[in-house]
Amino acid sequence: MTDIKERRNDTDGLPRIGFYICHCGTNIAGMIDVAEVREYVAALPGVAVSRDYKYMCSDPGQELIGADIKEHKLERLVVAACSPNLHEETFRKAAARAGLNPFYFQMVNIREHVSWVHEDKISATEKAKDLARAAVYRVRFHKPLDKQSVPVDPNVLVVGGGIAGIHAALTLANAGKKVTLVEREATIGGHMAMFDKTFPTLDCAACILTPKMSAVKSHPNITLWTYSEVAKVDGYVGNYKVTVKRKPRYVKEDLCVGCMECIEACVFKEPKFADWFNQGLGKRKPVYIDFPQATPKVVLIDPETCIQFKTGKCKKSCAEVCDRKAFDFNQKEEFKDIRVGAIILATGFKVYDAKRDPHYGYGRYPGVYTALEIERLVNASGPTSGEVVLRDGRRPRAVGIIHCVGSRDEKTNKWCSRVCCMYSLKLAHLIKEHSGAEVYNFYIDVRAPGKAYEEFYDKLLSEGVHFIRGRVAEVTDWNMTPEEEGRLVLRVEDTLAGFVRRIPVDMVVLATGLEPRADAQEVRRLFNIGCGNEGFFQERHPKLAPVNTFTDGIFIAGACQAPKDIPDTVAQAGAAAAEALALIDAGHVELEPNTAHVVEEECCGCKSCVPLCPYSAITFDEAKKKAVINEVLCKGCGVCVAACPSGSIRQNLFEDAEIFSEIEGVLAK
């Protein structure tokens, strides 16, 4: 322990306060004169001990506080350090260990709010003094409180049935927890089910995914609701009530065995409608199944294209041929309520819409494809059975893969989508393997930072795939030379060579980036969590709480949090499942005691608070003519407290007296 200075005061009958200022190495001490603050606070009324220490949050730092509480009979504790979001709990516990009620504590944020954001030492130190003084004034009014403990419902909801949701659900189910897995589409599998191979190992996506999909289906602890969406979420950590909307498939899920004879029997002899799963490159009938391994293997009818739904005059050969009598054209959407203790959101991503980059000609030139389309094209069960051919059936002689489409571009999405480099390498390999074409990669930087990724890049280089460092300006059918005639030309600066090149190809693959889902904002409001600026769900802490959100009991996993590849997604899904398990297996959860209550004798019975509460926690006792707050329902926002004309509503931790003294303290100079 270094340089501990202290001052003892006779506190003149005021509660005895201990003040501690943290150096945080040089994070705080580099900008704030901690010794000056320590001396200043020591002289404030009520302060019995004032100390500074290099790392208050460390064990010796906490022990120092504990020892002082006992030795100096401290009755209040103030720590000036980082954000309360980081270490409030740490110091509360330190206080409790030493026998002081943990809520006799106030934290002062002088790192995130002072030392990290200011550049002038004198004014930063002044600000730290003001904030410390405010806490010292405030903490006198603190009251001893107890945390409310409530039981945790052991069931879990997982939203999204891609690889993240599947992995999280299986992990929890294997641990013996009941899981409800809700998926919007008719099958689970997500984007991964569409892929052909996975990088860098080139193992087949279906081979590693489908066993997990069937495990979900057959697991006794998992309830699988596909073609369903979460409609409403109520409650709080450990005790959520969720309403799920189940959309009608017009086929009874428990009766259908997936024989697909109905599809054969459909009055449409040929598949006619663009199919979502094959990115529109393949066709389906109005009664269909997304792909042979769809889970659950249950057909569904698309009312938009089905003749029975459009005209009411179909002979319904599909229903006739079904000996299980599974068809029900009158099926309606259903709403189901479930109760869970924790929720894992694994809602995935959206592929960037390549039409937003008109200079790459997607939608204008048939030879331009998105990467996901190529995934389907090279897939043996895809629309061309794995043949790499153009829309007109020709085999491409040369293929150009343009990286960073909808990534690293402030006009569209400024982030790096993280997976495109690697999947572009994978597609380059597969295209070359399937078609023998000459393949060009147009990249800005090759980002291959994963286990065996760089080695994969090296393999591609050795295969003779071209790597041209430069962002393509334009895909055009404007030809300059005989060689370019009838082909698509890419204009690019070969930045390593230092000149512009025109490269004719037959097929262009746009390595489209990953975006937040179109409805990410609605979903985050539904679950009361946050989104970052770019629209991905916000984790509680970028390093230390990557799967937690600001709402306790709600966890995030996979690409809904940020673009990530399959290994990272699975790891994160496991982490989210572990966090949920930790919450559930604790059996109960302690709630922050910042709820409000009515001081009965002061309530004038005006009822102005009653309609203000968004949780209907306030009722009116007609017999006593007083408002009553149900503290279990109260979430502690304090709206009613601010509105009460007689001042009879108090909010723990945020009482009027506490806040007024904080205002007084911050300005007293």
Binding site: H359, C404, E410, G470, R471, A473, E493, G498, V500
Partner: protein
């Protein structure tokens, strides 16, 4: 074949210049460049440039002032703004070219007898004098100052223009020339290289108002 030494030493960098560029209008985002090269790829003139726009941006950012200001690149820019629209970092490449052109003129390092800066200068003079530009006179002036021979080769075009009534040998003038000169004179001290484009004050002395 002559061997050329390509190494650069830190002493050859002009850090003030690099600092200066980003303070100029349009230079704000310069440092964000990721060297993707889309500016060069989209540039219709890049194939003639000694440094592609991407390389020029990097040279400017690193402070290689001599290379930047004496390059043809800045003078070849035709202000088509393709680079600016395409740049993923919203770097205002076209405006940076203007900044560098103005600096090259101020520092007197632009390529001599190169027609583009001459055109810019003569254009400026004509606007000062008349308030408007007569393309015919401007072009004649340009050729007389740069390349006599080419002037002769242009007679075909000239005759065609005369035939179609698109040529005029009389300068078109605004009425309130003095008003315009007052405006420009008031900015004398604001532009960095006031001596170059011609002494406005002198023009002010000539009373041109009818």
């Amino acid at each position: 074949m002559a061997l050329e030494q390509k190494i650069k030493y830190e002493a050859e960098r002009d850090r003030d210049f690099a600092q200066w560029v980003v303070t100029q209008t349009g230079g704000e985002n310069l440092r964000h460049c990721i060297q993707c090269g889309i500016c060069s790829a989209t540039c219709p003139l890049a194939l003639y440039m000694d440094y592609t726009p991407r390389r020029l941006i990097n040279l400017a950012r690193e402070g290689f002032k001599k290379e930047v200001l004496s390059s043809f690149t800045i003078w070849l820019c035709a202000s088509c703004y393709a680079c600016r629209v395409d740049c993923p970092k919203k770097i205002q490449v076209t405006d940076i070219m203007y900044v560098l052109k103005r600096r090259a003129i101020r520092d007197g390092v632009y390529p001599r007898r190169f027609p583009i800066p001459v055109l810019a200068r003569e254009f400026g003079r004509m606007v000062f004098t008349w308030g408007r530009v007569n393309e015919t006179l401007l072009v004649i002036d340009l050729f007389l100052r740069t390349n006599w021979f080419r002037f002769l080769s242009m007679t075909g075009l000239g005759l065609n223009l005369m035939r179609t009534g698109r040529m005029s040998f009389f300068p078109d003038s605004i009425r309130r020339r003095l008003e315009l000169r007052k405006v420009l004179a008031a900015l004398e001290s604001k532009d960095e290289f006031r001596d170059w484009a011609g002494p406005v004050a002198q023009l002010l002395d000539e009373e041109v108002e009818p």
